[in-house]
């Protein structure tokens, strides 16, 4: 499918990545080469499961706000996404 607008830039753990307009933060994390968005309470890596805002597995810190569901958050230019914070 063709994106309506040009790519936009966001950072994932400090690294800049380009994603199509309309992409979610979960997509940006995958584009940055990370399968995991967070670490579980017993320390195992976790990535998106439901893709629709139900399971909360894809949580990450977005622009300083912790525990945001990355699958429900559409990327904005300059968005800072962190998977390495609790």
């Amino acid at each position: 499918m063709q994106a309506v607008d040009a790519d936009i830039r966001v950072t994932v753990d400090g690294r800049e990545v380009r994603v199509p307009a309309g992409a979610t933060a979960a997509v940006a994390i995958a584009v940055a080469g990370r399968a995991a968005c967070r670490t579980s309470v017993t320390g195992s890596p976790r990535g998106p499961l439901c893709g629709m805002g139900i399971c909360f597995e894809c949580r990450a810190t977005i622009d300083g706000r912790p525990h945001q569901r990355t699958c429900q958050t559409v990327c904005r230019p300059g968005m800072e996404i962190r998977t390495d914070e609790p």
């Binding site: 499918m1 309506v4 979610t24 997509v27 995991a36 976790r46 499961l49 139900i54 909360f56």
Partner: protein, 461 residues
């Protein structure tokens, strides 16, 4: 907190049922609003099918100005589903419905007032009639390794790919049960994925019986299935086959499947698995709607046991798009006080309910799947509670109290259905807020929460 204007009809959920209800109510002259957690309309089944030209007016709360097009709208698609979705989006736009996206309903604050949250800001939505069209989520059956990154829901992977996930060239196995596997696999292949296997847990004899039911009740669906099959030429489709383990170091690397007595392992980049659908009944239950057999009980007008509260689509029983559209229109017309218009959809609804019955019989989960999770397999992914830890309790409530299962961020939305399948536990009562919301926002409505402290499901984030 700003108090919103009143709506004659408020609809929760912007999938087919909610859109149909909104159109019916608004076209009947009622002041109508529709609210949804997702950034764009369409629910799960019409996700990503909105094109710019068909956009309704969106009011992304709390403060942004109304705009014509939500983020993420695409070029118009050409499949029959795309055209069906586009026609409804155009109708929604023409009907003058206020569309509130990216907003989750978290609680009821007063008789006819819901509390909704978006981006950390709360807003009250006051209504005269309410239509709950909250849709469904995927059901998951735990198996060893199902918590590894890149083991994703079937609809989940579809949603991620729609949101821009690059999938071209990736080796993907699609597994679980139900017709969704077909459409997901076809969509993935179209976007360049290497679909290596579709593993359907049910057996061929049930599938064939379902095929006959399709001819009788929904021949269009049979054509749709054949079109998917055409798109999936060369992809092995195995019935009576399911995943038994997923393995990998930090993410998925390979999946072991079983079919009959045969067990084998396939290298995979993604495993897309879904074991049917679970209706989202948290909000109807919170509002006190009576349940029957795990679904919301409704009368012929789609009205629940709570007067003025209607329910349409998957929460009244898993049944697909056509059933959701019929129920949505009945609910919308009934909520608008126009029963004669509602009556026109009774025969379609009756036929699609029979179709739903055939669907649910055909894809009922087999008993062997209950044995997939090992003692140390995690069942509750939020709190990392294993099968062994949960199995020593007699029910959901004591297991929750002792192990914290179902008390994390998803509030049991994933492990609740799994525990029901594994242990036969009935779901617990629902308490507000039904989605995690910041303590700051809750504090704004402190008076209505005081009586419910210690609910345990109110995680502050």
């Amino acid at each position: 907190m700003s108090r919103s204007a009143e709506y004659d009809v408020l609809i929760v959920g912007m999938g087919p049922a909610g859109i149909a209800a909104a159109c019916a109510a608004a076209e009947g002259g009622r002041r109508t609003a529709i609210v949804d957690d997702n950034p764009a309309p369409g629910g799960q089944i019409w996700r990503g099918r909105l094109s710019e030209g068909d956009s309704p007016i969106f009011v992304p709360p709390p403060t942004n100005a109304a705009r014509r097009c939500p983020v993420g709208a695409r070029e118009p698609g050409q499949s029959p589903e795309d055209r069906q979705a586009a026609a409804w989006f155009r109708r929604l736009a023409a009907a003058g419905v206020e569309c509130i996206t990216g907003t989750q309903v978290v609680a009821q604050t007063d008789g006819n007032v819901l509390l909704a949250e978006s981006g950390g800001v709360c807003r009250e939505l006051a209504y005269d009639k309410l239509v709950l069209a909250t849709g469904a989520r995927e059901s998951f059956v735990p198996f060893p390794g199902w918590t590894l990154p890149n083991v994703v829901g079937a609809g989940g992977l579809q949603a991620l790919v729609t949101a821009g996930l690059p999938i071209a060239g990736k080796r993907v196995a699609v597994a679980g049960g139900g017709p969704l596997l077909f459409s997901v696999a076809a969509g993935l292949r179209q976007t360049g994925a290497k679909v290596i296997l579709i593993a359907e847990q049910t057996c061929w004899s049930r599938l064939i019986r379902f095929g006959f039911a399709l001819v009788r009740l929904a021949p269009g669906k049979l054509m749709l299935g054949l079109r998917y099959k055409w798109k999936l030429l060369g992809v092995p489709y195995r019935a009576g086959c399911w995943p038994v383990a997923a393995e990998g170091e930090r993410q998925l690397e390979r999946v072991t499947f079983r079919a009959g007595k045969k067990t084998w392992t396939e290298p995979c980049d993604y495993l897309a698995c879904g074991f049917g659908l679970t209706p989202n009944t948290e909000l109807p239950r919170l509002l006190g709607c009576r349940m029957e057999g795990g679904v919301v009980k409704v009368d012929p007008w789609q009205e629940t046991s709570v007067p003025g509260v209607y329910c349409a689509g998957e929460p009244t029983g898993i049944g697909g798009v056509e059933r959701a559209l019929a129920e949505g229109q009945i609910a919308g017309h009934a909520a608008a006080g126009q029963p004669d218009r509602a009556r026109r959809f009774f025969s379609t609804r009756a036929r699609m309910r029979r179709f739903a019955g055939a669907l649910n019989r055909a894809f009922a989960l087999r008993d062997e799947l209950r044995q997939l999770a090992a003692a140390d397999t995690i069942v509750c992914r939020c709190e990392d509670v294993t099968r062994r830890q949960m199995a020593s309790y007699t029910g959901w409530r004591p297991a929750k109290l002792h192990t914290r299962c179902g008390m994390g961020s998803c509030q049991g939305r994933v492990c609740g259905a799994a525990a029901q399948f594994l242990f036969g536990w009935e779901p617990d009562s629902v308490r507000p807020p039904i989605f995690p919301v910041s303590v700051q926002n809750l504090a704004l409505r402190n008076d209505s929460w005081e009586t419910d402290t210690g609910s345990g499901c109110c995680e502050s984030i």
